[in-house]
Amino acid sequence: MTNVVATNQTILVVGGGISGMTAALEAAECGKDVILIEKNPSLGGRVAQLYKYFPKMCFPTCGMEINLRRIKSNRRLRILTLTEVTSVTGDTGNYSVTLKLSPRYVNENCTACGACANAVTAEFDNEYNYGLNKRKSAYLPFAMAYPQRYVIDSRIIGTEEASKAKAACPVNAIDLDMQVQELKITVGAIIWATGWKPYDANKIQPYGYDRIPNVITSVEFERMADPLGPTGGKLLRPSDQKEAKNIAFIQCAGSRDRNYLKHCSRMCCTATLKQTTYIREKYGDEGKANIYYIDIRAIDRFEDLYQKVKQDPTVTFIKSKVASITQDKSTGNPILNGVNTEGYQRYSTPYDLVVLAVGMEPSVDFTQLPINITLNESGFIEFDPKNGGQFAAGCASDALDVNRAVQHATASSLRAIQVINKVAGAEA
């Protein structure tokens, strides 16, 4: 049984992405007791799936490494992976939280040697790469995964595969009898850093994501550009694995649209500007990026990136919400149909590959959970005194870029500390 010590002076942080890690660390480094839970087997969240950050084009793994080092060296911080909140009762300064811990089937003996992965044959869609490739049924979610421990996919439990994995482990780290556990803890404040998920592109029917293989999402493109990703960093068309050089980006794919997400997802414009640099990085002057947009929302100093990309002669901007995508059946090229509204020009233009800059939506639907918290129309958590000692951090509160999410998480951390200090009667 997992044992967790928590009191009403403990802060619970839900979600181990960049916002949750930040909120947890800021509080823990301030001497507070923090429990950080993550529903996936490893920390990192969405940023771990990014190739680069805008506007610097640096690597998210770098910041991950710093945060992991902070985590490793902090004794105030307890981490539970494969853990979700199932209910919250109580009030500010005294919440009773029920956690559900799903089995990893691998204990702390694991040395991440990989013997189990070599032993099994069953493969599943690789979530880390948004299903662009497969992974083994015994797996380390990704290179920087923390805890650095393998996971046995629950779908092979009870099969021969699982036994093979267990037999292969040299350190007796595989425990196939692990069960789901329920844990009740008391905490003083809760930070919801549950993050975002990419909008389901299948729902954007005019763009034929479900019908046209060479229409992909921005998050998939991000994995493709990553040398450690499923294509080894090559921008390959799903239909024929040919290199895509002439690429279109469709902004507001799902955002600013009452049919899908009413809100603006904020980061997609800048993310696309960033992704055009991937094309340049791979092909130099040979590549082409074409951005279909309504407004380019490269706010504050992100404008510098916009100006820089605008200077690039291989990048074209078209003010237009693409009306539909059809497919040239002979080449597999997606054809974008629509009207350039600046001066009214109709187009029907084929591309090698089309990237949908999909929007952000809250990854957790709080209306489906027995949790009392104020939500806005899009399901993001509103800042509301009625929320008591519960605070959103990062993209649980709004569509944010990484920098703003971290900023927000830092602020949330203080709000939680204020609650805890009040409970403790701590006078400075």
């Binding site: 290179a143 450690l228 009413k262 003010k319 806005n376 569509a399 990484v402 900023q407 830092t410």
Partner: protein, 755 residues
Amino acid sequence: MADKKFAAYLCKGCGLGERLNINQLAAVATKEGKIPLIKQHDLLCSSEGVALIQGDIDSEQITHLMIAACSKRAKTEAFNFENVAMSRANLREGVIWVRPDTEAAKENTQEMAEDYIRMSCAELKYMNIPAPSQEQGRIPHILVVGGGITGMTSALEAAKAGYHVTLVEKTAALGGMAAQLHRRVAYQSPFKDPQPTGIADLAKQVQSHQKIKVHLNSTVADTSGAPGRFAITIAHESGGTSTENVGAIIQASGFKPYDAQKLTEFSFGKSPDIIDQLGLEALARQANGGPIKRPSDGKEVQKVTFIQCAGQRSQTEGHLPYCSGHCCLTSVKQAMYFKDANPEVDTLILYTDLRMPGFGGENFYRSGQDKGILFTKGQASSVLPNGGDLTVKFKDLILNEEVEDTADLVVLATGMLPNSGIDIEAIPLKVEEKKAGDSASEEPVAASPPETLVPVESVLNLSYRQGKDMPQLIHGFTDSHFICFPYETRRTGIYAAGPVRRPMDISQAMEDATGATMKAIQALENAALGRAAHPRSGDLSFPRFRKEGCTQCKRCTVECPFGAINEDEKTYPVFNEGRCRRCGTCMGACPVRVISFENYSIDTVGQAIKAVNVPDESSEKPRILLLACENDTYPALDMVGMNRIEYSAYVRIIPVRCLGSVNTIWITDALNSGYDGVILMGCQKGDNYQCHFVKGSELAHIRTSKIDDTLKQLNLERERVQTYEIAITDLARIPQIINEMETTIQRIGLSPFKF
């Protein structure tokens, strides 16, 4: 310090036992490493293994232990012992995972492992357990500079967490720019209407809070000390000064509006009916919900045109290249002033990209449309007074035509400039010669020279060697360069918040203020415990300095990226431990090697380098030293191992805190000891630096570029020392570089310095 007691533990798990001769490694640790207590275990990280070690620590009073197993980044939860010094020989990711499992490779692989044992033993010998710095104490008190909405929010948030606050505001009242507003942009659902600013209420809360002391008409005249012992001198307009000791500082000095006089094409100043956004706020306050009247003749405005991005997002000289972020929201809010008072008023917003992001932004835009505000994607080219009216010329980009339109009032959405104080990194400014206060008197003078863009008054008046204010990042803002760490500043314990950090709106500024307060509280709490701030948070080591050897060359003071080191009257360095980030740049800079850390020193690395067994020439086995930055390069090396990418068995890798901490003595020592090549790998430098300590990598590059002279003296080829910028993702590149060095050595021959 008590006696050092050493022990070494060799792991046989993860294939180490099969791939390596562990007994032989133990023998090396005993004979060469001189470690008295050596144990082997099948799986050291297992609970039994950990218990074995802990048992020895408890019963044998082991103070220094060497673990020969996996990378120091792995199994940190298991190998987590208190009050001991620990070195780790990386035999897994660093040896067996990067070497082929063949009979032919075995000898070299074993040699590699043996060297890592020698190196770890040597390192351990010279390590001490750091004790926290006592230089500073716990002062639960924060200085907030600036009494605008950011500063007030910071003050209240800190007070709410139980901390004392001193707030210094240079004007006669709290409120800052926000106090000049009629309403603020909607900040909560449903994000439809302008909202009261709440400034008066906020100011009242601040002023009446027991834990907050407000100094109006005051400025910070001097800031000295460090987190946990800042001493602040506050100058009052009345002439007096007062002092305050604080644990940390928040700079919320805000912004000033762009000088619209520069926008001659829009005739600002030629007609009172051409105003900026603040000008409109004044009119709206006057109207107070009633019809807004134009300044020239008091006529009720029937048509108002807003020109977005006026003098912004433009490469034109004198314009701002960036976007001020709030102006679209603000113009929509201001157009609502008109529409809410009288829906019949025509309000036209000319924009090129309407930037109203997120949930609230888009809702506010829709609400503006619903109220009947006209939006046109258009590029304004001129505004001219024309009789009583104004003529606005613009290109309607949708209808693709040049338009000449009239308006009663034109609002220019101009940008914001940070009040970030003195740009200490600019080429010595004549500004510095100016006395504070000069700039205010020469305000309305026309034709302003470009340097007036640089504020001349210092905000913090830091008595730091590196200058009076915080270094600026870009466009004058004091933002963090790090995406993941938005509050990073290069002055420990001082955090910027609000529009001085980055252009932002009120909601964001309040959020930002809260985050910065978090960091300030954290900084003072850690300072009290003698712990480092980010990114080596929790580190208790700090630079120790042997004054007797110091030549007062000032390199450490100049090169410290964080302005931690001052000089005393005899120009000896003064370290200000609370400001130190423990990167070791000073250690790397010191030509006489008098700076070290307890657990990371000239010796811990230098002795490890020397401990390597350099085979004589006849063996034809070169040795390559790789000094790898532990922040990005070392994790990348681990991933190279995890991916089983092989590289040369002749390399010996030592992680360093930052390339900036690399003292060239290590390189010359290595070459003198017969190494055939030395590689340095650090983070990206330059404008887009990735170096976690800002300047470390850059400094290392500069230093090693000068090593050519040394090489020449030693009569060695310059190819033998190479410096690289490495990213954490360079899994393919790192092995290539290592292997290339091996090839290079084959080409130019082994070092003549073998014994």
